[in-house]
Structure formats: structure tokens, C-alpha cells
Symmetry: C2
Subunit: 430 residues, 2 copies
């Protein structure tokens, strides 16, 4: 391998996973039997790492190992192994607050940059379920809860400043994955870049128009600056529908290797933006046997419930647990007027966070259509003309979200915009 | 000493400074003669450290040593020695950009937490000069230049994200001095706290009114949150008129031990707020022999020139040297429309920074009248009634700056407010 790796590191490969696990405290007991009885299967369909599912006679585990390059591109794009460290660190920081919304980590090997964690079963990736048109009635509430708890409890509203600075300093070390986000979300989609791709030739003129759209580029740059310099809370950093695993009852958030202290709206917007992509993509998956109109209603309702649930839960946490150094509780525990004024301040805070979230959602949508990494929601639409039409609708929403997020007075306005864009945009290309 | 210190640390004391310097490379040559020929004088009149001026037959140096407690309060308020590390680190980071606006550091001793630097001579502390009514014709331009260069070159507009994160991580270690700022500027002045003091009894009712003023406290809390979570650039962190040394021609910025990555408006506002305090304080120093009306004009003109000079210089740096990761240059180097739009974006950025600066200026003024640390500008007004009147005018401005900074359309509006407050507020007490 041309890429340098630290001493002791080697990619495990399916054949070495069992031997590795045999020496991890507690894991042989969990799996049952011996290494010869364990089946190992590589399942990573993400862009970055290898993921092994290991089943034994008694139980299962999942092993995730970082590779010294970006899997999506290959060895031509080296990428530090430290992302595994930050993934397990982020999980340890948020787990006390989000409970079983994140997988339980059983072991971390800092030499192999490998995380051994519980295998989520029978969960599937949310994005796959939503492309198949499956409803998840508890999804919105559980994601809202995860976001509110992870973001609130790592913000200045809950953390003492010293502790927050200690954590922030550590996550500053995750500069490489932050840099990846800065490039592939906020920079490359707005310029000619060899990594970009789009549905061609249908969207060739659209991509060129975006690259020439100064207002759009300024909005992206403004968001990039916010991403760079607004450590409001510990973000998941890549909270799309591909980072969530679900059953009918259960929602679990995986893959926080992009974790760092950043603007909360980036996480919230990632989730919302990916739901709205799914809404527009359904028209590419509808068939006579599987009409998707009602499912689309469910997707919009889910996005609404994600936001309203998040807002309510976050506010409840703030009202009940403002143990951080911002907004000193002692200053506002007096008369009813002070309590009312603080509540108005909280509402204004959430209004600003809503606007941030919409703008970041727009950026997340745009990158999935014009940048390097695309979604199966759209990719799996076989007819390129139909796909380009769905993508054009996505971009129409994305531009409004990025340029004028403040014109949406509430989350229902975004649902209304989605519906009207769907009925009004009838041809591919902006 | 009851306070624990690291092995090898001891306060130097005047008697040990010469022996310490004798072993510092280059310093004996600079001073000339031998230790017995060197005179040592402790001159620290600040709140935190000991400062020794050392003169030899050929030259001079200054030695600044951190004590393990807050000098202003005594051993009852322990304070980490690391602040000396951050002071020399901050100086090393900004020196390449601000040149001789900061003292040259000759040596840093990490065991004694002692900095050996050039002795500034015949410079005096700006605040003392301004209390005496001395004009400094080059002050505004030189401070504006220092602020623009130090802030621009450590921001995301100039620094690559990785480098900024590395520096940010290091300065997160300065949590203790950041915490001091959070407490004494944004928290304590707005509550009953044993460290607070004010001109009593003249301002007793005023202090109580501030503590009951929910809007004022919310404004302070909002600024505190910005202070906690907006690492826009490497701040000096304590940029008042007591941290500047001057001659008629030369302006030097000292004492950056509070340095950290924070909101630029905090530095700019510290400077402006302290100039406006001086404006109001002049009425307490005017005599028949030394009328101060024209000097007050000069102070307001200076504040205006500080802001306009800072704004122009910062914009010029941005136009010419946007090497950072925010606002990717490649996105905006195209047609004249794009260039115009980016320029409008820059102007809007500076407008927001102006509003931030005014609000932080208000917080800095308030803390100097109701908090722990006061200014000689006001303290040296012997007549408490007159002092309380000047302080009331300061607080009147401060409240407007903090609560409605956006109503000031330009820096001249603040000068106008200063003048009208001075003529309209005729009795002590808000």
C-alpha cells in the first residue's frame, strides 16, 4: 500500500476479523463458540470505511474499521485513520444523553482504528426503507429526541465553559473530516471540479447556472463560514437518512465520524434536507402497484414532526436544565416578567436555529445533486429524464432555502413549498 | 504559600530578577555590565501579574511573571500560571502580522512562567495619558491597524481551516482566563456579588435597577453566549486603554494573556467602550487651568477614527488577501457582477461586526462601573457626586449600546449620543 499508516495498523479483511475479536474482552462470550464458529460479512455501503457484521452461535457484533483513504474514491484520496477515534469519542460523549439512540460501543482498538459495537438487528438503513416506501411511525419523535438531547447537552446552555472548551479542543483534531465537509458541501458543487457529477446531459445547463449564480454561491459561502466558526454544540456532522438505522419501533443513529463542535442547524438541516429529497424522489419510484402520493404526505408530515418535536424537546431541556454558562439561571429566576422575557428569548433562539437549519438543509440538498456524493433516493430512479425532473424540483427548493430561509415562517411553509414546487416544476433544468 | 505551584516555580521577587536574567541568552549583552549593575523595579499596576523593569548600563528589558493568584484580589482567588504561556503564544501568532505594535519577546521561561521582553520606553499607559488630557495623533490609525491585522489574519478569511483549528485547540486551554471574563464582565455586574463595587451610596439604586432590568440582563447573556461560541479570530481578549502603551508617535499593545478565539467585536468594543468612558470621565477632571471640552472632541474623533480605520483596513486586507477557507476566492473572481456582490457581502459583514462591537462596548462600560475592576478614568475623580454623574452618563450610553446596537447607523451616531447624553443627564443615578 502506497499510503503510510501507523505501526501496527493493517486493514483487517474478512479473514482476520474473527482472530481480532477472539482477543477482545467480553466479545467471545457475547458471540458464543469459538472463532471458527463466527461468520463474518463485509457490508459497508458507505463512502468511507469497512464494516463487518459478525454472527456467532449466541450473538452478534459489528466491527467498523477506518481505512487510510476515502473508500468512495479509493487510494487516490488519502484520509486519516483518526476518524475512528472521533467516532467512538463522540459516541461516548452523547450516549449518556441519548441512551440507546446510538449503538453501544463494546471496544475500541486505537492501533487498528477499529470499533467493536453492537450489531443493530433487524434494523435497516432508513434511506433504503424510505426508498422502498416504508413508514416509520416513531421515527420523527425519536430523531427529534436524539437531536435535542445530543445538541442541547453539548451546548453552552448545558455544559460549563471549561468542559466545553476541553471537548472542543479535542474535536478540533477532527479537522480532516471537517475539511471534507467544507469541500464537498460548501465549495465543490459551486465550481468546476473533477469530483462533481450530475444527471447529464439533462442537468448540464443547470449545473452551469448554479456555478454562475452569485447569490447562491454567497449563500453557500456564508454557511461555510458558519460551519467553520460556530461551535454551538457537538454535531453528529453527517446526520442524513443514510446515518440512521430503523425498525418499525426503533431509531438508531450511526456513523458520527464527522463529529465536531459546529452550528446546530447543520445537523438539523441534514436530516430535514434528506427527508425533502426523499419527498421529491418518490415520483421516480411510484408505480401502479406502489403509488407514492400518500407516502409523500407521510414524508412531509415526518419532516414537520422532526422539527416541531426537536423544537419542543430542546426548549423543554432548556427550561429544565440550563446548567451551562450561557444565560445564567440566577439572572432570570425572579419575577414573572423576567421568566416571560427569558422564554421569549428562548423562542427567538429557536427561530434563528430554524432559519439556520433551513439554509443548511438547502446546502445538503444541492450537494447531493451536483457534488460528489449522491443519494439512492434519486440515484435509483432509472429513467434519467424523470430523475432530472425530481432533482430539478429538489434544487428549486434548495435555492429558496439557502437564499431566503427567513421567508419560511414555520415548517408547514416548507411542506407547502414542496407541494407547490412539485406541481409547478414540470420540466428538468432550472 | 498555600496555593500549589508546579515544581521549580517561585515568584522571582525584585531580588532574584537579576540572577534570573543573567542566565537568559542575549539578555546580559543587551543590558550591559553584570547583574550587580542592573536596577530592578516592580511596576505592575495591573490586576494580575508582577512586572519588573530592568535597566543596565547599555539597555533595558521588562520581565513579566504570572502569580498563582489574581493580584487584584490576592491569594483568595487562585489563578493558573498558564496565562503567561498564552500571552507569549498569542504574541508569537500575531507578531508577524502587526509588526512592532506588540513588544518583542526575548525569552519565555515555562518553569517560572516568566516572559522577558523589550522594555517600552518612554511609553506610558494610554489610559494614564488620556486621564491627563494628552493627545495622541497617531493612536487611532495605529490601533485600527493592529486590530485589523491581528483579527483578519487569524480569522477564517485568512487562515486555512486546519491551521485555525490547531490554534483554536491550543487556546481552548486558556479556559481559566476566559472564565474570568465570562464572570466579571457578563455575569457578576448583573447580580448581587461580593466582588462588585460602585460609587456608593450615589449609585446604589442604579445598581439595583440594573440587576432588575431583564432586557439588560438578556442582552448581557446574549453577548456572553457569543463570547462563548464565536471563535471568529484570535482576540487580544482585554484590549482596553490600560493594555496600550503610547508615545506621541508610537502605539504598542501589551498584556494579551486573555487571548483566545472569540468574536472580533469583543476586542473592537473593548477599545471603543474605554474611549467613551474616557469621554464621560473628562468632566470629572476638567479644571479652569485644564478645561477638557476640546479634549473630549478629540476623544470622540479618535473613537470614530478607530472604527473607520479598522473597517477600511480590514476590508482592504480581505480584498487583497482572502487566503482562508471562508468565501472561496475561486467562486467570486469572475464577472463584475460577482465582484460587486462579494463587495456588498463584505460591507454587510462589517455592518454586523459594527453592531457586535457596539454591544460589547456597552458590556465593557457597564462592568467598569458596577463590577470588580474599575478604571482610573473614573476612579480618580475625587468628588463622588461628580464621579457618579459621569458614571451615570456612561451607563446611559452602555444600556443603549447593549440593547439596541442596531439603531446606531454609523460611528458618528455614537458620538452624537455621547454628546446628547452628556448634556441631558444632569443628575447621578439612572
Amino acid at each position: 500500500m502506497a499510503i503510510e499508516v501507523p505501526p501496527g495498523y493493517e486493514p483487517l479483511g474478512e479473514e482476520k476479523v474473527a482472530a481480532f475479536l477472539a482477543a477482545v474482552p467480553g466479545v467471545p462470550e457475547r458471540l458464543g463458540g469459538g472463532p471458527a464458529d463466527w461468520s463474518v460479512r463485509e457490508v459497508g455501503d458507505g463512502n468511507l470505511n469497512y464494516v463487518y457484521l459478525v454472527d456467532g452461535p449466541h450473538g452478534s457484533v459489528c466491527v467498523k474499521q477506518a481505512l487510510p483513504y476515502l473508500r468512495l474514491v479509493g487510494e487516490g484520496w488519502p484520509l486519516g485513520l483518526q476518524r475512528a477515534h472521533f467516532e467512538q469519542l463522540a459516541t461516548h460523549v452523547v450516549a449518556p444523553h441519548v441512551g440507546r439512540a446510538v449503538p453501544q460501543i463494546l471496544h475500541y482498538d486505537p492501533t487498528l482504528f477499529a470499533i467493536v459495537m453492537e450489531k443493530l438487528s433487524p434494523h435497516i438503513i432508513l434511506r433504503r426503507g424510505m426508498v422502498a416506501g416504508t413508514r416509520y411511525p416513531r421515527l420523527a419523535a425519536q430523531i427529534a429526541d436524539y437531536m435535542a438531547n445530543s445538541l442541547f447537552h453539548t451546548s453552552d446552555l448545558a455544559l460549563p465553559a471549561r468542559r466545553k472548551k476541553e471537548l472542543m479542543a479535542e474535536f478540533c483534531g477532527n479537522w480532516e473530516l471537517c475539511g471534507l465537509t467544507e469541500e464537498v458541501i460548501f465549495t465543490q458543487p459551486y465550481m468546476v471540479h473533477p469530483h462533481n457529477r450530475w444527471t447529464s446531459p439533462q442537468l448540464d445547463a443547470t449545473a452551469a447556472r448554479v456555478r454562475a449564480d452569485t447569490e447562491w454561491k454567497l449563500a453557500a459561502a456564508r454557511l461555510k463560514l458558519k460551519f467553520l466558526a460556530s461551535p454551538e454544540a457537538l454535531l453528529h456532522g453527517d446526520l442524513h437518512t443514510g446515518s440512521v438505522m430503523v425498525t418499525a419501533d426503533d431509531t438508531r443513529v450511526i456513523d458520527p465520524e464527522f463529529a465536531f463542535f459546529g452550528p446546530m442547524g447543520f445537523d438539523v438541516g441534514a436530516m430535514l434536507g434528506n427527508l425533502w429529497i426523499n419527498f421529491f424522489a418518490q415520483d421516480g419510484h411510484a408505480t401502479a402497484e406502489s403509488p407514492r402520493a400518500e407516502y409523500q404526505d407521510w414524508v412531509l408530515e415526518t419532516a414537520e414532526a422532526v422539527w416541531t418535536g426537536f423544537r419542543e424537546r430542546f426548549l423543554a431541556l432548556w427550561r429544565g436544565g440550563a446548567t451551562g454558562d450561557a444565560y445564567p439561571a440566577a439572572h432570570f429566576d425572579g419575577d414573572p416578567d423576567a421568566i416571560r422575557a427569558l422564554e421569549a428569548e428562548r423562542q427567538a433562539y429557536m427561530d434563528r436555529l430554524f432559519i439556520d437549519s433551513l439554509a443548511f438543509a438547502g446546502a445538503k440538498i444541492t450537494r447531493r445533486i451536483l457534488g460528489i456524493a449522491h443519494n439512492i433516493d434519486l440515484e435509483w430512479i432509472a429513467d434519467p429524464d424523470l430523475r432530472a425532473l425530481c432533482e430539478t424540483r429538489c434544487l428549486t427548493l434548495a435555492r429558496r432555502l439557502m437564499l431566503e430561509p427567513g421567508r419560511f415562517r414555520g415548517i408547514a411553509d416548507v411542506s407547502a413549498a414542496c407541494r407547490s414546487i412539485r406541481s409547478e416544476v414540470r420540466t428538468a433544468g432550472l
